[in-house]
């Protein structure tokens, strides 16, 4: 149905909320890409099958990712009038027990993670506690989510609906205050006052640049030229970063609503979402959401009877990392080769088809409805002086609790990594955190108390970037890390300008030779000079920031470079060419176990005599080490 006025929207919201008021049990299965990859599909089927056999009516729906990817597949059960229970690592075999427990109004303790005692509707500033009538002993025993180490210090604004609503349901989005912000903006606010609110909120671009969003909108509104465009950059390409994917998959309407508000503020009537084709589920969810929004009249002509006209098109990116750069993205949207151009004239003046264009990242757009609804002051009250609000990070690598973490700006890296992430895998020590994706840098464990905000990370030679946080432990070789990211960037360099194209290739040559033990004394100054030409001379930010992994590891882990070059030694034991496996003759019983384990026939020796490894044949696979019952094989 069409919602032509806010009263209708309010009526829908009321109806939807009443329906959701948990008259019957409801089961939510985290079916974002992370959940599906961990087996949410079969779990969902098993739950449906188990529910079908029971007499009680039960609703089983898909939801997005609540961030706790390390616990996937995640299932939540809403017990009417009592509480909501979260289960983790659910297997299809658990389905009957979960269904039974849900029907009985209790919990299947085996897989229970925590209990959610209140339903927060962030956009309306409402925290509605579940009535908690008749919680049995088992339910009482479960830890509350507010006390769970992964969740307790997080603050979900961008992820307000992720893992809570069915992303395929417009009604559920509206029930949680969705589209009320757009209605408010279009009917009660003037474009200038919206821009003023975004400026006052302190929101800065979440895609990496950190440019103040309100100033960008204002410049675009003031730029002469028609038509104007708004663009959502969903071409998230940093290795190990998937914040945007989770937001689209879990809450697609929030982006659409943000863009509606932005289009009205700027004076645009057409918007584009540029989303990478490698995110098929995100594309599907967006398409459905767009269709729903059009049918409901949130997109199209005369939105909410305000006279504002706005539609959105989806364009899929074909897999070039550089297309996440705004000018390359716009070239790609125009149907040209996705290559950047110099931004001496800004895209807010001459962007898509040389018209004023306002490009923001997924998370930036998603924050907009919250700011409009809760007010700029509320938003500005969260975070630090220069960096407001929250930021979603994808915490990956050797973190014990990996997943998406949304925290207020300014919390320390230590809190994110050690408290929320639970530190590194048992038996290892934390060595460094890589922030900001391939263009970011490595921050050593000694600087872990740095607050997470744009300025502080930049000052350390890293950057906020789009929000990748790769946790590295003592078994990570920092030269190898620099080599990995440089290889990625060399592969993704478009080749237009000389410093990035040739510089990244030479940088990779140098790093590869250091990792292979052929490093030369002059290689470190050479890397530094190559960094200068790339930083100072590249045409776009991809090349300009490409040396960051090298520069930051040189800054904090120079001794590792020197160990590789001067001593032909990889302190972390990663670079294969620099490893030597040796059998300690005194400890060897000559049992031949290592001979059988060695795939390259490098180990010889008579039975019950001490064996030796022929280094020229050894592939350094390490299979002999666990095969030896005496523990006689050591790595040097």
């Amino acid at each position: 149905m069409m919602h032509k006025c806010p009263e209708q929207l309010a009526a829908v919201r009321k109806r939807a909320r009443a329906r959701q008021n948990h008259a019957r049990p409801r089961i939510l299965v985290g079916a974002a890409t992370c959940g599906l990859a961990s087996g949410a599909g079969p779990v969902l089927e098993a739950l449906r099958a188990a529910a079908a056999t029971g007499a009680e009516e039960m609703e089983i729906t898909e939801t997005g990712c609540n961030g706790a990817c390390y616990l996937e597949p995640i299932v939540e059960a809403v017990l009417p009038g009592k509480t909501r229970v979260m289960y983790g690592h659910v297997k299809p075999g658990d389905a009957p027990m979960i269904i039974q427990a849900t029907v009985n109004g209790t919990v299947y303790e085996e897989r229970a993670l925590c209990r959610v005692d209140a339903d927060e509707i962030l956009l309306e500033d409402v925290v509605a506690p579940y009535r908690r009538n008749g919680l049995d002993a088992a339910l009482e025993r479960i830890v509350a989510r507010d006390a769970h180490p992964f969740f307790r210090s997080q603050r979900h604004i961008a992820m307000r609906n992720c893992g809570v609503i069915d992303p395929a349901s417009l009604e559920e989005y509206v029930a949680r205050g969705g589209y009320a912000g757009a209605a408010k903006a279009l009917l009660e606010m003037r474009p200038e006052s919206i821009i003023e609110a975004i400026k006052r909120s302190g929101l800065r671009g979440r895609g990496g640049g950190g440019f103040p969003t309100g100033r960008k909108w204002e410049a675009c509104r003031k730029a002469p030229g028609e038509p104007k465009y708004v663009i959502c950059n969903a071409d998230e390409g940093d290795p190990g970063a998937y914040m945007d994917r989770a937001i689209i998959e879990g809450d697609p309407h929030s982006i659409i609503e943000g863009m509606i508000i932005g289009s009205y503020a700027i004076g645009a009537h057409l918007g584009y979402i540029y989303v990478r084709q490698e995110y098929p589920l995100a594309v599907r969810r967006l398409r459905l959401a767009l269709q729903q929004a059009e049918e409901a009249g949130f997109l199209g002509t005369d939105i909410f009877g305000s006279g504002h006209e706005f539609t959105i098109q989806i364009n899929r990116g074909a897999g070039a990392f550089v297309c996440g750069e705004s000018t390359a993205l716009m070239a790609s949207l125009e149907g040209r080769v996705g290559e950047p151009r110099a931004k001496y004239i800004h895209t807010v003046e001459f962007g898509l088809w040389n018209k004023p264009s306002c490009l923001n990242n997924v998370e930036t757009w998603n924050n907009v409805p919250a700011i409009i609804q809760r007010g700029a002051d509320w938003y500005a009250g969260i975070g630090t002086t220069g960096s407001k609000g929250t930021k979603v990070f994808s915490l990956v690598g050797s973190a014990k609790r990996a997943g998406l973490v949304e925290v207020p700006m300014g919390v320390s890296l230590r809190e994110v990594v050690e408290e929320i992430g639970g530190g590194v895998t048992e038996g290892r020590t934390l060595k460094a955190i890589q922030t900001g994706g391939p263009s970011g840098g490595c921050i050593p464990a000694t600087l872990l108390d740095v607050p997470v905000d744009y300025e502080s990370l930049g000052a350390l030679g890293s950057m906020m970037g789009s929000g990748g946080l790769v946790v590295m432990d003592n078994r990570t070789c920092m030269v190898d890390v620099a080599r990995y990211f440089t290889a990625f960037l060399k592969e993704e360099s478009c080749g237009k300008c000389v410093p990035c194209r040739e510089g990244s290739a030479h940088m990779l040559d140098v790093l590869t030779r250091i990792c292979e033990g052929a490093g030369r004394a002059e290689d470190i100054p050479l890397l530094e000079e190559l960094s200068v030409v790339m930083t100072d001379g590249s045409l776009c930010a991809l090349g300009g920031s490409a040396p960051n992994p090298v520069l930051s590891t040189l800054k904090y882990f120079r001794n590792e470079y020197q160990a590789h070059i001067d001593e032909h030694r990889c302190p972390a034991g990663v670079c294969k060419a620099l490893l030597t496996y040796r059998i300690v003759a005194e400890d060897c019983s000559g049992c031949d176990a290592c001979v059988d384990a060695c795939p390259s026939g490098a180990i010889s020796g008579d039975y019950s005599e001490a064996h030796v490894i022929d280094e020229s044949l050894c592939a350094r696979c390490g299979l002999c080490v666990p095969a030896c019952p005496q523990g006689a094989i050591i790595l040097q």
Partner: protein, 279 residues
Amino acid sequence: MHQMNPVNFSINGRPMRAAPGETVLSVARRNDIPIPTLCHHEALTSQGSCRLCVVEVSWGDRSKLVTSCIYTPYEEDRIETDTPRVRTLRRLVIELLLARCPNVDVLQRLGWEYGVKPGRLAPEDGRGKERCILCGLCVRVCDEVVGQHAIGYEGRGVERRITTPFNDHAAACIGCGACVYVCPTSALHYEDVENVRIMKEFQTRVELAQCRQCGRRYAPAVLIEKVTRCAQTKEDDRHLCPACRRRTFAERMSAWMQKQLPDARANGDRLDVTTRAGG
């Protein structure tokens, strides 16, 4: 919006005035201030990819490097074309290009001028035999001036190459040789063999038309067709090689003069050969 009026700024301390939309490079060239370029040609759109034309722009107490072939100055910009930062960047860019194309003389000259120490970036994997620096002038001249779009880029990063669609004979190529002409490093060549012009780097062969007088194969037939269409050349001249055309022209003119000369002498007039003889 940026620049509706002329802009007053300075280059190396000299006051300058740029027309609306004029680049720093253009102003510098007008004023005989040298700035090296490899990917710039005044007939083509600038793309700022070789990075050799960088200059340092300061305003207030801040400064940054910009590519002068695309940067249009702002009021009161102070531009310096030869600071240490500029020279370092140019030296490193040239060093990178020399590692790719060690045998290109224009790069060798620049390398000498900017003090590149040879051999530091000896490529390890066969790069280095290359002559093409990927400046893209050939692609742009074919698109923007000739209008044929016969060549383009393939691949990305160091694997990027300039080639024809599908690395195959380019049907759109008219064999005009503009790409060869504009190439700053002599990376492109063509050769006329019997009745075809071979575009050597582009797997493309174009038939050469025969001069109706001397029988010589003198230019690609498709090129002649295109030029005729664009320039509306006289029908009779269309199928003559340059030498025969010159000769016919001379013969025509001579015949005309023979006819006119006696009358003109009688009248004491000067002959107006420019407007009538060729016609």
